[in-house]
Each structure stands twice: as C-alpha cells, then as structure tokens.
C-alpha cells in the first residue's frame, strides 16, 4: 500500500486536477455524485491519451519502426502498472479487455465452456450486477447447468450463515461482487474464497466498484479471477482488466480469434500465442491501456489509503446529512461499506428526484442500477443513488441534502 502520508488530504488540490469539475450544468456548478456509474478523468489521464495520438500513435507488437516500439513499451508498461496495482505475481496474469463485463464473458466462454457442463452448478449472489449474472445464465442455458444464489440480508449484507451448504461436488465456479454498486456493501471475499477453495471451487471477483475505493491484493485475497473497468478508476472507457492465475490462463482456450493472438497460422492448423496475448485478439485499445496506466499513477500518487480515509469521512458525513432529510430511506446498512448511498424519498419517484437534482447541478443515478434481483430483494421499483469519489466534498453532500428537502416539499 502506498501513500500513507501524514499530510492532510487536500481535496481542493485534487479537484484542481479534474478539468470537468469546472463546468456548469443548468447554470449551476457541477456537483458530480455519479461515480459508481463512471468517474471523471484527471488532466494526466487526458494528457496521456492525447499525447499517444499526437506524438507516438502506432500499432503494437508488429511495427518495424520507432513509434511502434514506443507504443508497445507504453502499452506493456501499463500492463505492468496494473500488475503492481493488483499485486499480481506476474504480468502475464493481466489480460486487457474492454471492461469488467467483457472480463466475465471471457471467463464464462473460455474457462466456463471448458469446465461447466450439464448438471453442474455455478454459485452467485443476490447482490451481483447483471454483468456477473447474465454471462453465467447464457452459459448455463446452453450447457444445462444451474445457478445457485446466496441471498442478501435486510441490512444489505450477504447471508453467509450456511455458506458451505451451497457447495456440492457439481459446483464448478463461484462469482461474487467485491463491493455492491447499489448498497456500497463491501463483501468478505477472502472468507468466501477460503470456503470455496476448501471445496476445490475457483472464484471470480467482480472488483468494478471496489478497485477505486480500496487497495486490492489478488495474492492476499486468493481469488482465481478478478475483473475491473478502467473508466471507474478515473481512467478511460473501453479498457478493462481480467486478472487470472497463470496456471488457469495457460489451460484456458482462447475466446476470440484473430491477429496477435496466434503463433502460426495455416489453413490446416493455428497455434496460439503465449499468455496473455492469446486472449487479446486484434488491435487492442492502446490509448485506453495507456490512459489506464496514467489513472493508476494518479491513484498511487494520491495514495489509495488517503482516498479511502477521505471517502470514509464523506460516508460518515453523508449518512448524517441524508438521514436528516424528511421522508428519506436509505437502502442497505452494511457494517462494512464504501461511500455509496441508495435511497428512496417518500412521495417522490427516483426519476423525478434525478431530474430535479440535475437542475441544481447535482448528477446522480436513478433506476435499477443493472441489479434487478437486488431491487426485487428490497421490494423497490427503483432507487436514487449518490456515489462518491476522491474529489467530492462534504459541502456537496450538504447541497444534496438541501436539494432533496426542497424537492420533497414540492411533491408532498
């Protein structure tokens, strides 16, 4: 873990690095509280992408010129940054994909097709984002496997009281979200992984939400697969990461075929490139990977522990400010959580809340958050969600609470 600095976290200095925080929305200063959806980008990330296209744009791994070498070095350099960011043992365990969703689809279509067959079982949780439900459902429908679901308690935590009962000799994989995009709950993935491994079952962790809030150490966690998206990590869209143990990657068949993922091709037979390249068919999102590298530098310069401490202060402040709003109900109350608030406001539909807040310059998300099963669990048709990042302030939370009070007066 880096950056356990003794200096006070200077949120204004952090904000100054994000050009977009200077824009006005409906003639109000932007109050961006939609970070679980996507985060904003610091100047260094924007500059890294721009500099690639301006000064060394080239294809990687195949150009016989200086620019191609520069591009390859930066792209592979970004892979090593991801390796260190996740504390993976080897850079070969880092596969660049489009986003967390594509990472799950890759595992389902490669590892899944190889190991999951008729009558087999996949364990998921009721807290999953659709990205970690639908790819498994598609696979299970095709091969005749079944999904078992670990339920969520009314506090918004996973009910792990009889976790070992979910495993049978037919269990082939367990997928779990590290941090809920709806409730902010941080799940005890280490404990789940330990139990799964005791039954010989590999675990995929969806770290899309956790990766920008807390340090992730895949070796300490013990996961077999882990996915996240660059755009939630202050990086660009269109780039994401699949981490997988090297021994698994070596055994897994390629998913997509094309250039760069091969060793030799004849019409009789193709042999595949080594890992991770056999999973990266075609020209990848080179600028995206370089931008993601810059985003990781940004986070490590600030110090993920410092970000976490700042966001913990915001969480405490937000809980106090929001519970003081008349008619507001927070969904979920996990003991261990990050700075995400899902709520309903008595007498006001979330969609109307979203529109009214927008006119105050406040950006949140409303709806079902790609988590229909969780919405059904809490018996709400939709929620409003404010989700925070490294640049948010307590003043912004106070402004949110004030707007919500005003909105409710208009409707009730």
């Amino acid at each position: 873990m880096t950056g356990l600095s003794t200096s006070v976290y200077n949120v204004e200095a952090v904000r100054a690095q994000f050009p977009i925080l200077g824009v006005r929305v409906h003639n109000k200063p932007l109050n961006y509280l939609d970070n679980a959806n996507t985060t904003q980008k610091p100047e260094t990330v924007i500059e890294a992408i721009s500099s690639f296209y301006r000064t060394f744009n080239s294809n990687i791994h195949r150009a016989s010129h200086l620019l191609g070498e520069l591009a390859t070095n930066q792209y592979e350099g970004a892979r090593k940054k991801v390796q260190h960011f996740l504390n993976a043992e080897q850079w070969e365990e880092i596969v660049f994909v489009r986003n967390a969703t594509e990472g799950v689809n890759l595992v389902a279509n490669s590892y899944g097709r190889q190991h999951i067959g008729e009558g087999d079982e996949v364990i998921l949780t009721e807290m999953e984002h659709h990205a970690n439900i639908v790819p498994w459902q598609m696979l299970c429908d095709q091969v005749g496997a079944v999904i078992k679901v670990i339920p969520v308690t009314s506090e918004g935590e996973l009910d792990l009281s009889n976790l070992s009962d979910y495993f049978t000799p037919r269990t082939k994989l367990l997928g779990v979200v590290h941090m809920s995009n709806v409730l902010g709950t941080i799940n005890p993935v280490e404990k789940i992984i330990e139990e799964a491994h005791a039954h010989g079952v590999p675990v995929l962790v969806d770290a899309a939400q956790s990766a920008y809030h807390m340090a992730i150490d895949v070796q300490a966690m013990g996961c077999d697969f882990l996915v996240f998206s660059g755009h939630k990590l202050y990086g660009p869209t269109g780039i994401g990461v699949l981490y997988a143990r090297r021994s698994l990657l070596e055994e897994m068949p390629p998913w997509q075929g094309g250039g760069d993922m091969i060793e030799s091709v004849t019409f009789a037979r193709t042999t595949y490139n080594q890992v991770p390249y056999k999973f990266e068919a075609g020209t990848p999102h080179i600028a995206g990977a370089i931008g993601l590298g810059a985003a990781i530098d940004f986070i490590q310069d600030l110090g993920i522990a410092n970000i976490q401490a700042h966001e913990h202060d915001l969480l405490q402040h937000g809980l106090k400010a929001l519970t003081a709003v008349d008619g507001l109900t927070l969904i979920g109350n996990a003991a261990k959580r990050a700075s995400v608030f899902s709520f309903t406001l008595d007498g006001v539909h979330p969609h109307d809340i979203g529109t009214f807040l927008d006119f105050d310059g406040i950006a949140i998300r409303t709806g079902q958050h790609c988590a229909h099963p969780l919405m059904q669990r809490f018996k709400v048709p939709a929620t409003a969600r404010a989700s925070l990042g490294c640049y948010n302030t307590t003043d912004e939370l106070d402004a949110l609470a004030k707007s919500l009070t005003k909105i409710r007066e208009t409707f009730v």
Binding site: H349, P350, H351, T355, F356, F359, Q368, F411, V412
Partner: protein, 152 residues
C-alpha cells in the same frame, strides 16, 4: 423552482401525481394490458371496459414517476366516454406533441385540453417514454395484445 423545470413539471402534473384519477382496479374490465419502462423501473397496468366501440370505463395501477403517473391519470380522464377511434386520434396527437414530431395546429391543441401541459416533455428525450407509457399500454389493451408493452 427553475423556470425550465416548471415548464416540465407544471402544477397540474404535480397535482395529478399526488392525487391521480381513476387509480385502482376495474372489476368489470374487458381489456387489460401491462406496460413497463425497464430503464427506470416504471410499470403500469391498464384496465379498460369497451362497450359498443366506446371506452365506457378505464383505470390504471402501478408505479411510476410524476410524469408517467400524471400522464396515465390525465389520459384516463381524456378517453373515458370516447369512442376507440376518437381515443386513437388523441393518442396520435399526444404522441406528436411529446416527441415534437410536428407542430400541432391551434385547433388540435385546443382539442387536447389539459393534455397540452405535456408539451414541455419534448425537450427531455429521456422523459418522452415516461409520458407515453400509459398511452402505448392503452393501445395494447384495446388491440387485445397479451404481450407486455415496453418503451425500450
């Protein structure tokens, strides 16, 4: 409230949201349909009793934002007692109004009565689906479609 926001959320819309008309079951309905807006989680059930080509009675149930609730409430008020073909004409005009497909004539706007307050919606593409959900569901109910209507 900001003027642009007031243009979208007119007082009559807020009133119908708070106290919708014709809300609840309709035991002797002979045409029913479900509609939903998957993006925001709105869902509506529409009950209609058609007698001799006329909408004798109509009601709705469900959850939705103020725009969709008020639209459903005002729709039931507008079509009750009308013939099916008259209701369809109002639907076409309403559709043109909220999507901004064409300018309605002064006469048409006049004929729409209170429904004209939804004109503000066409500046907010994300809300057009909210305003039109009830109408699409009414269409499906009358057509006898048993497929749920979705705005996606």
């Amino acid at each position: 409230m900001n003027d642009d926001l007031r243009e979208l959320y007119q007082e009559v819309i807020l009133d119908h949201n708070k106290r919708p008309l014709n809300y609840g079951p309709l035991p002797d309905s002979n045409h029913d349909a479900n509609g939903r807006n998957p993006l925001c989680g709105d869902h509506i059930t529409l009950h209609v009793r058609v007698e001799d080509g006329r909408i004798a009675d109509v009601s709705f149930e469900g959850e939705g934002c103020a725009i969709s609730r008020a639209s459903a409430s005002m729709m039931t008020e507008a079509v009750k007692g009308r013939t099916v073909s008259e209701a369809d004409t109002i639907f076409q005009q309403f559709h043109d109004l909220v999507t901004g497909t064409r300018e309605l004539t002064a006469e048409e706007l006049d004929g729409m009565g209170k429904l004209a307050v939804f004109a503000g919606v066409h500046d907010y593409p994300a809300r057009v689906k909210c305003a039109s959900l009830a109408w699409h569901t009414l269409n499906a109910a009358i057509a006898g479609s048993d497929q749920p209507v979705t705005t996606e």
